[in-house]
Symmetry: C2
Subunit: 445 residues, 2 copies
């Protein structure tokens, strides 16, 4: 992981970010690996000088469930409510005196947590969101999982939880996928996925406000509804996501905070605004920041627009990472990389013009202008849970701004959005052989 | 609870708060009560139109522990590590379909929490900090507990957890205090206290990022070290708290955030900075905000200074609440109220001059100037856990700024600090009869 501290002088360019004098490059890299497990232990045991134990995935023990459940249909109410987990979970305990203990795969069930535990009071918790895909070639795949493992390290150390070797953590995720994947994602039903949730919590039972001296890493697998294809509740017509712009008295993240990390503290405080959005007929909050109303995230997803500049150039635009207030999303990064690689010269098959890819701060004012002048072509949110979801409108300052969204093959979407989404799906489900598809060996249990 | 929304035009006066156009008066009041329990249920069950059940403390059931523990000495290592809870805890479950269920007092022990529970992923959690005091008159007392109950409602609804009638919640706290207080705070040892921790968590096992449909309220009582009197680790000499000012890339709270609420999300993200402070020989972080380095909180406590203005006036100064980035501390409020009531004409017994009480934004630059010009007389942090703790130095921008702190009766403190602290102690331990002392009826079990 690269976390280089650099002094920047151009952050104040448009007046949005003004209190931050230095920032970190929080991009995570699939290439960089920690030099040794000790580099990433996060906490050393200074008191007694012992070297803490690193995670060792090869030691993982498995206790198979004696009461495995049947796999419900994808439209089962419990699945839609995101309450259906698979038969097993993986757990691995850490203490400040001994480090990481033996990982275990055990039947899925409740955790025993002391009422005084750190996680219940001080939100010492972080997680990752991944998906396990059953490919059309019959294989199980994760999508760029090393990025998730490395971001988990960024998150855990931001929230005062222990470090670890990301490659060993990934092996633990893969092991659980190998145990439950074959049954819960049967080969005869390609094109389905499970949601993978690696989580770390501080379970130190000491009530003081301090770094937890005990932590639990666990992984669970959940059945999950498909959330990127929406339809009108009455007519059933395909529709895009409807966003309600956040008010100035409700801010998701701020410079010097933790908006770039996948810590629980970013989510709970957003739920009141999200509930208000839903009660008013919107799907998610579009989080704005600062007096310029910079666009940051929507719900817990990154946001992209495709617009034509006044000079006539076509651009794919998303907010930059340097302010550290948005998540370095794996889907976001993949969209940027695919678009940069494949779209500078346009896309002949679809009759699509060349596109410039731009990471820069962009504002609701700019989006409104582009809409009013007919220059806004498409907009979408992207993330693991919601995948790539076209946006059909944004309500801002009392106005409902419509974004073009045409229905093609029963899905409401812009053309670039559909193209990029198709590429990603192809890689995830093994239709395109690509280094981003990480095959899970189902025999490795 | 009063939460009035007002439009303010003077927040930008010193350039510190600039993104907030409207703010809420988050002061809580001991006088205001909700009109009916339904007013504060937070969630109504719109789906089926049923009225949700309110908390009814009179229904509380008690299951006594069959293996009560002995009370350890105050200097027992487990007490110093804040791991010693009393024999019982109180729990009360809520669901969105039925409301609050029957409260139960049961033996203290682990909670059974599903790995998919909201609190473990999205920090849907809030708490209160109170103390139960064994008075010198033999009585058990809480200190202004209605303020805690009302603030808990402010916090729970900010973090998308259910509402409740604060007066019923307080009755639950009192019941647990009545069960465990007599044994854990024996009458023959007056002057001791237990730490009281009411907590609410979202235990909805659905993994989606949404308002929890299930929640658990619980109360635990902890033995707790006395943290307001410090001594030098080598010489044993009395000392004050040593603060390290936060860097500009580490910000505790932000306008439009949740710094005013007692939610877990304010604490975990602060622990990395706190650990750095401790590793450098300081006790806590002094949280600064904005380009002017406004002083907000220290650790999880409010901050006061006593200084002489250039015009010669004597002032007790603390940061205001209107920006919503600091906690409306019960101790903070009590210090302000006692000082306003008792000090405008000075304090004859102590030979202390009249003092003006001021709530306004004040900055590290002002504090440094006052120190350099010999005008800074005292500084202290205050809160329930650390009580009133004199500050002896602040490290800021590489300089260690010393704050006057004289040793009187074996304690390092300023004179006004000691006076105010003495008043508070008198009320807490029943030496002064005062409406803020809330007597717990030990027979009410």
């Amino acid at each position: 992981m690269t976390v280089s501290i650099e002094t920047t002088s151009n952050l104040t360019a448009n007046g949005i970010i003004h209190t931050l004098e230095k920032t970190a490059d929080v991009r995570i890299s699939e290439l960089d690996s920690p030099k040794s497990p000790e580099d990433t232990n996060g906490f050393t045991n200074g008191a007694n000088g012992h070297t803490l134990t690193s995670i060792d995935a090869s030691l993982t023990t498995i206790t198979h469930s004696t009461s495995p459940r049947s796999v419900p249909a994808p439209d089962d109410p419990a699945v839609l409510q995101q309450k259906t987990m698979t038969d097993h979970m993986l757990t691995c305990q850490w203490t400040s005196t001994h480090g990481w203990q033996t990982p275990t795969i055990v039947p899925y069930g409740p955790l025993s947590i002391m009422p005084s535990s750190s996680v219940l009071h001080y939100a010492t918790e972080c997680f990752e969101g991944m998906k396990l895909y059953r490919g059309y070639d019959g294989k199980l795949r994760l999508f760029r999982p090393t990025l998730n493992a490395q971001r988990m390290l960024l998150s855990s150390t931001r929230i005062a939880l222990p470090g670890f070797d990301p490659s060993e953590l990934l092996k633990l995720v893969v092991k659980l996928c190998a145990v439950d994947g074959p049954k819960w994602l049967p080969k005869e039903r390609p094109g389905q996925f499970l949601y993978v949730r690696p989580t770390m919590i501080g379970n130190d039972p000491a009530l003081g406000v301090q770094q937890p001296k005990e932590a639990l890493f666990f992984v669970i697998l959940s059945m999950f509804p498909c959330m990127d294809v929406l339809s009108h509740p009455v007519t059933g017509d395909p529709r895009g996501i409807r966003l309600l712009a956040s008010q100035e008295d409700m801010v998701r993240a701020w410079p010097g905070g933790f908006g770039y990390a996948k810590v629980g503290a970013n989510y709970g405080p957003s739920l009141v605004a999200q509930a208000e959005a839903r009660s008013r007929g919107f799907d998610q909050i579009l989080w704005l920041f600062g007096p310029q109303c910079a666009i940051t995230e929507a719900g817990a997803s990154n946001v992209f627009v495709v617009w034509r500049t006044r000079e006539g150039g076509l651009q794919l635009v998303t907010a930059p990472l340097h302010g550290k207030i948005i998540l370095d999303g794996v889907t976001r990064r993949s969209v940027l990389e695919l678009a940069r690689e494949r779209l500078p010269n346009g896309w002949e098959q679809g009759g699509l013009d060349p596109l410039e890819v731009v990471e820069r701060e962009f504002t609701m004012g700019e989006v409104e202008e582009a809409i009013n002048e007919g220059r806004l072509l498409e907009a979408f949110t992207c993330g693991t849970a919601f995948f790539v979801a076209p946006i059909e409108c944004v309500s801002w300052r009392g106005k409902e701004l419509s974004i073009p969204c045409e229905t093609v093959d029963g899905v409401c979407s812009g053309k670039y959005t559909a193209l990029i989404k198709g590429w990603l799906k192809g890689i995830m489900y093994g239709k395109e052989r690509h280094e981003w598809g990480y095959v899970v060996d189902e025999a490795d249990v």
